[in-house]
């Protein structure tokens, strides 16, 4: 499983240990995020530092997690690389997520 999670200051940090977040990984990621949410994680930080490329289905998995939470709790994105930031800006993801440069800043951000 290319995903890992750890708890830090009331947050669940989910890291993605793959360089491509595309159709082949989007469904496993969605299931992983749903499991985290079902198990009571309500403050998620997604560490994207390893991801060099994300396509629309990868984006879909992140938004699916957000929709699943349904406004209860928070999901923040951290450490996105430039190509991933380009996708976030094209798709106005800043309207849906709090996007921060590092995991540490994401944890501090209220």
């Amino acid at each position: 499983m290319p995903f890992d999670s750890k708890n830090d200051a009331g947050h669940t940090i989910v890291s993605i240990d793959e360089t491509r977040l595309d159709a082949s990984l989007s469904e496993p990621l969605r299931i992983y995020l749903f499991d985290q949410i079902d198990n009571g994680s309500d403050n998620l930080v997604i560490d994207l530092s390893q991801v060099r490329f994300m396509d629309s289905s990868g984006l879909g998995a992140l938004v699916a997690g957000l929709k699943k939470m349904g406004g209860a709790g928070s999901m923040k994105l951290a450490s996105a690389q430039p190509a991933v930031m380009d996708l976030f800006s094209l798709t106005s993801m800043d309207k849906l997520f709090t996007i921060l440069p590092t995991v540490t800043e994401a944890i501090k951000e209220k």
Binding site: A23, R30, F34, D55, S56, S57, L59, G60, A61, V63, A64, G65, L66, K67, K68, S89, L90, T91, S92, M93, K95, L96
Partner: protein, 389 residues
């Protein structure tokens, strides 16, 4: 069942042949691997090969590998006869493609049972292949339906429309369209449903319907009982309506990106709104330059209550607009490098003096040269319009 016996010892071969014939099989014989390959080629009904291991010229294992490496178009069940009860030899045989083993001297009851097991596998495979074939036929006819939904290249009022569309597998989630909304206004769009295959394609079919105006009022044109009886909706209003209508479920996340625009065919004024779609490109005929029309927006269906921006530009005669899906720029070459927006823009700049058709083939050529193949990982679609009053 048609069975081929490969055995260099003539007496052994004859005994096996007689026994199998008695069990109701049609039997062919060969005395070594080379002869066996010839028999297989001229008798395409043979599905089972029972081969001795040790033979001159080409032995049983080499024959098995030769069969596995050749393209018969159907599966051949391969059984090795061996006096060699050495476990390592058995493992080697299976690793090199054999399906089963029979120890020599042959116990005929065991041979019959093992043959029956082989026949069950062959029949299962045949049933599976038949089902796959049926599904593929269905997919092909769905792809034909999709192709019929696509608008023909056309000149409507003073706007020329043309396009390129190449679905990734048999079916794609990309769609586009254009139509007159009144005597001087045309609507056009290009969209990309996330994912590929049947769910995405079905969704794109229904979107094609939703975005069609048939004169009785629709998502793109509101109708009233009082004059002027209708109002053409602003592109951002259309996107908001789509977003209200098509919210994705978290489990399936069928959502889409779209560029939707309207053009006044008399004045050349274009208003465009985009939802997570790659920025459309404005090809300016006067300066021979390419300008990105950037207006971001959350893809349709991701979240309710999103708003979208309109961008209005004034086309000059001969100007073109290029709408495309991310499959164009995300095409990868053999080392995984993407075609990208810069190469697309360069390709379009080189094609300024081309006709619309020639420009479309030029971009296609540049993409296929880049990928080195004409089968793409994602749907590749672009829609081009030219205003020529």
């Amino acid at each position: 069942m048609d069975i081929l016996i490969v055995e260099d010892a003539r007496d052994q071969r004859m005994i096996l042949s007689v026994v199998l014939k008695k069990q109701g099989h049609r039997v062919f014989e060969a005395s070594d691997g080379y002869e066996a390959l010839n028999v297989l080629e001229s008798h395409p009904d043979i599905r089972i090969v029972i081969s001795d291991w040790m033979m001159p010229n080409m032995d049983g294992i080499e024959l098995c590998e030769a069969i596995r490496n050749s393209d018969f178009g159907y599966y051949i069940y391969f059984m090795l006869l061996t006096g060699n009860s050495d476990r390592e030899a058995v493992v080697e045989g299976i690793n090199r493609g054999a399906d089963d083993f029979i120890n020599k001297p042959v116990d005929f009851a065991e041979l019959g049972a093992r043959l029956n097991a082989g026949i069950r596998i062959i029949e299962l495979k045949a049933a599976l292949e038949h089902k796959i074939h049926t599904i593929e036929k269905d997919l092909e006819s769905a792809a034909e339906t999709q192709a019929r939904l696509l608008s023909e290249p056309a000149k409507i009022q003073s706007v020329d429309f043309n396009w390129y569309f190449q679905p990734s597998r048999i079916l794609g989630g990309d769609m586009f369209g254009y139509q007159a909304l009144d005597g001087e206004t045309l609507g056009f769009y290009q969209l990309d449903v996330a994912g590929h295959g049947i769910p995405s394609a079905l969704f794109s079919f229904s979107l094609n319907n939703t975005l069609r105006e048939d004169g009785s009022g629709s998502l793109v044109k509101a109708s009233f009982s009082e004059p002027p009886f209708y109002r053409i909706k602003e592109p951002n209003e259309v996107l908001v309506s789509l977003n209200e209508q098509f919210q994705a479920k978290p489990e399936s996340m069928l959502y889409f990106t779209i560029a939707y625009g309207v053009i006044n065919s008399r004045t050349g004024s274009v208003t465009l709104s985009q939802a997570g779609h790659p920025s459309s490109l404005w090809l300016k005929s006067g300066s021979k330059s390419v300008e990105k029309i950037a207006c971001g927006g959350v893809p349709i269906g991701m979240m309710p209550d999103m708003t979208y921006k309109n961008v209005t530009i004034a086309l000059q005669p001969g100007d073109r607009l290029f709408l495309y899906s991310d499959g164009v720029t995300e095409c990868e070459n053999d080392i995984g490098e993407m075609f990208g927006e810069d190469r697309l823009v360069a390709s379009l700049e080189d094609a300024f003096d081309h006709t619309l058709e020639a420009m479309i083939s030029r971009v296609e050529q540049d993409i296929t040269n880049w990928t080195g193949a004409d089968v793409f990982e994602d749907d590749v679609t672009y829609l081009v319009l030219e205003w020529q009053p």
